[in-house]
Each structure stands twice: as structure tokens, then as C-alpha cells.
Subunit: 140 residues, 2 copies
Amino acid sequence: MTAPAINTRAKWLNKVKWDEHGLVPVIAQEVGSNDVLMFAWMNREALARTVELGEAVYWSRSRKKLWHKGEESGHVQKVREIRLDCDEDVILLKIEQVDNIACHTGRHSCFFQKFEGTAKSGEWQAVDPVLKDPEQIYTK
Amino acid sequence: MTAPAINTRAKWLNKVKWDEHGLVPVIAQEVGSNDVLMFAWMNREALARTVELGEAVYWSRSRKKLWHKGEESGHVQKVREIRLDCDEDVILLKIEQVDNIACHTGRHSCFFQKFEGTAKSGEWQAVDPVLKDPEQIYTK
């Protein structure tokens, strides 16, 4: 993402307890349904940009760069509220999910695998529908 | 927590991508309201015990031991469903929260601090009520 410089020294950013990698875990929850759609990470710049832009900007740990959610898929997350937990080391974003799809698999939520069974013999089953073929999402 | 030995080698546990510390992030969401109540971590044993017991057992990173949520406060979390995300490295627990209080501050949810303001001048404000005085919670 190329974007203009942003102030990452604002006082409110100091209240967040960034981990040893300068990151904080982030939960994205859909306004209205309250469904948990995804989980990701932010650094100071990602959080500052999220507030500035009003859309979720994460830090991609695999690609090691800022990730404006939806930049490729169009599945942008409009941020309606930002919460911080009691220990000040986890962020909860309340968002509106464009196109209703947060997951790269084309599902509404990333949490589509449900545990079935017992501790001795369990399995994870995909229980939520694919709303859009991933090949159709990432054609740009 | 003293507890009987448990099988931590079950095949379904291998599907989870444990991080370099052998942990996975866990989001606890209330059944019904869908409120996100807290965020914590589990290791293999914590997840196996959670399934076995039907109550949330986390790994306390600060105390470096298993933590049966509610063991001191009584605020146990009854587990109704367990979900795994698309990358298989985050767990979502759907729980019933005993006494309606998940947070050690005596609030319903740990995410009680709301961001107000702008990127330049923001602040975090506690916006949810304390339901029970923490001194009354931890008297045992």
C-alpha cells in the first residue's frame, strides 16, 4: 500500500500495549449481526490509518506490509467503532463488511470450521457456505 | 490447576497451527448476544481440556500455567461450540458466561474501552458499567 505519511506518535496510540513485534491482535466483528468475521494484527501505523481512513488496515505478518483489507478483493471493512480490552493489548473493531464476505475462501466469516466429536476423536468440519468463488474474487 | 492426565496427541489437535510458543489465540463470544467477551490463549492441553470439560480452559501467559476460567471468580464459561478459522491458527469459542461477567474488572465484556476522537487527538473511554465490584468477586 502506498499512502501519505501519517502521525504514529499520537498519545492515544501509547495506551495500546504493543507486543514484542510492535503488534496487537485485532478481532473484526460485524455491526448488527455481531458475527466475528476475522482476526488479524495491527501495528501503530495500521491502527492510525484505520482511524484516519475509517476502513480496516491491518499488518500482514506473512507479507510484512500494511494491508488495506479489500484492496484486492473489494471486500473493504467500514469501521464503525473501535474497542480496547481491559489489559489494553487486544483491539475489537466493529465493522460493516462490504459484499458480506470477509474470508478469502469466499465465505462470510473466516470461522467456518466447526469442531465435532469428542476430545479423543474429534474433527473440524466446514459448515458455512461459500458465497462467492475465490477465483471470481481475485480476478483484478 | 491440578487435573488428571489428558491425551494431547489426538489427531484433531494437529490441524491447529500452533505458534512458535505452542499457543493459539482464542476469542470467547457469548451465545445469543454474540457479544465478544474476552480474548486469551490456549496450548494443546488447554484446548483438549476445554473439549473434555465443556468449559473454557486457557493458558495464562503471565502465570505460565493452565487457567480454568472462573476457577477463582466462579465466572466459568460453558462451551457450546468451537470454531477454527480459515488459516487454522485462531479459535472462536461460543460460550455461555456464568454470572454474565467475563472481565476481571466486573464488567460483562473485557472490551469496555471505546475509541473517541480523531487520529490526531483520540482517547479511550470506559463506556460499559461495572456489574460487580472486583473486591466482591475475588474474596475466596
